[in-house]
Subunit: 186 residues, 2 copies
């Protein structure tokens, strides 16, 4: 084993930058989040980890609704801002043009892909709450679709790396998933 | 609202490709996974969603241990292969050079970053099990570190997009997280 031990507080590559929206005291609020993932195929479930002290959590629990909005690089500055300032201190409701779907969670018109989620389960962790929601509506800009599917190059999302705290664009195409490995063998 | 509705079975951008390792019937097994995320800062917790029918799940539950290994683009073909074939049918234990840490979960020498995780909680979902583990050891190739921290450009990981099933490399640097937004305002 030629490896060195590093800090256990280590991370995956990459972490998807998203803006999570929820109504808090009847006002839209948005939070920059990179700890989220799909967790079930059918029904389509999404899990989002939010530190317990966040302003968003009580609103999310009360309304049982949240949105996951994928910002493009054009929104990198505003997204980072949403991670720097708390809704406790600053009204973020006017930062974006808001629309709503079935759950009433605020979604962001300026994001090319928005997922409307209904909270179905909350997992209590030491410092975070893991909110698991069903995607009940998915909305995309027509201009970001190729053959009816979201196209990562048109969405132009960015990813977070930690602990160096960098944002990165998507790069070159590597190959087709569930296909590339057909020539490999154990 | 100028958006169109798309299939609710929608995804985040990006999803980190990883190889999850576990001992199954005393044999190392590896699974290609993109549905995983950190879910708690301190202690460092990692959540991994695995479909209930996977060969890995009983072994992971029995040993209460799993590893998260980050493959580079050089391992894209082998990683994809691990997603194409089940350990039920193929012995994947010889695909990689295996090492172990505190939990005994098999880790992959050829991956530049490996996280050794002890299972602390399992969340039962309709089609998946969400395994939450504490990172009790993190191992990196010294050559992939910059100032002692993993460097995404040296790790050269790749990301999965769905539903178009593509693998992608990391691209250009966008900016510094928790900094870029200092000039934005609500």
């Amino acid at each position: 084993m030629s490896k060195v031990k590093i800090d256990n507080n280590a991370f995956t590559y990459f972490m998807p930058m998203a803006l999570v929206g929820a109504m808090v005291d009847n006002r839209p609020n948005f939070l920059a989040v990179a700890w989220l993932t799909r967790v079930n195929y059918k029904p389509p479930l999404m899990a989002v980890a939010l530190g317990k002290t966040h302003f968003t959590n009580p609103g999310l629990r009360a309304t049982k609704a949240f949105s996951v909005n994928i910002p493009g690089v054009d929104l990198a500055e505003k997204t980072d801002y949403c991670g720097l300032v708390s809704g406790k201190k600053v009204d973020k409701s006017k930062l974006f043009t808001v629309f709503t779907g079935e759950t009433g969670a605020p979604m962001i018109e300026e994001c090319r892909l928005c997922l409307d989620c209904r909270l179905i389960q909350t997992v209590d962790l030491p410092a975070d709450e893991l909110f698991i929601g069903e995607i009940v509506g998915a909305y995309a800009d027509e201009t970001c679709l190729t053959d009816g599917k979201p196209d990562v190059k048109k969405i132009d999302p960015f990813t977070l790396t930690m602990p160096d705290n960098g944002y990165w664009r998507v790069g070159e195409y590597v190959g087709k998933a569930w296909s590339l490995g057909k020539n490999a063998k154990a």
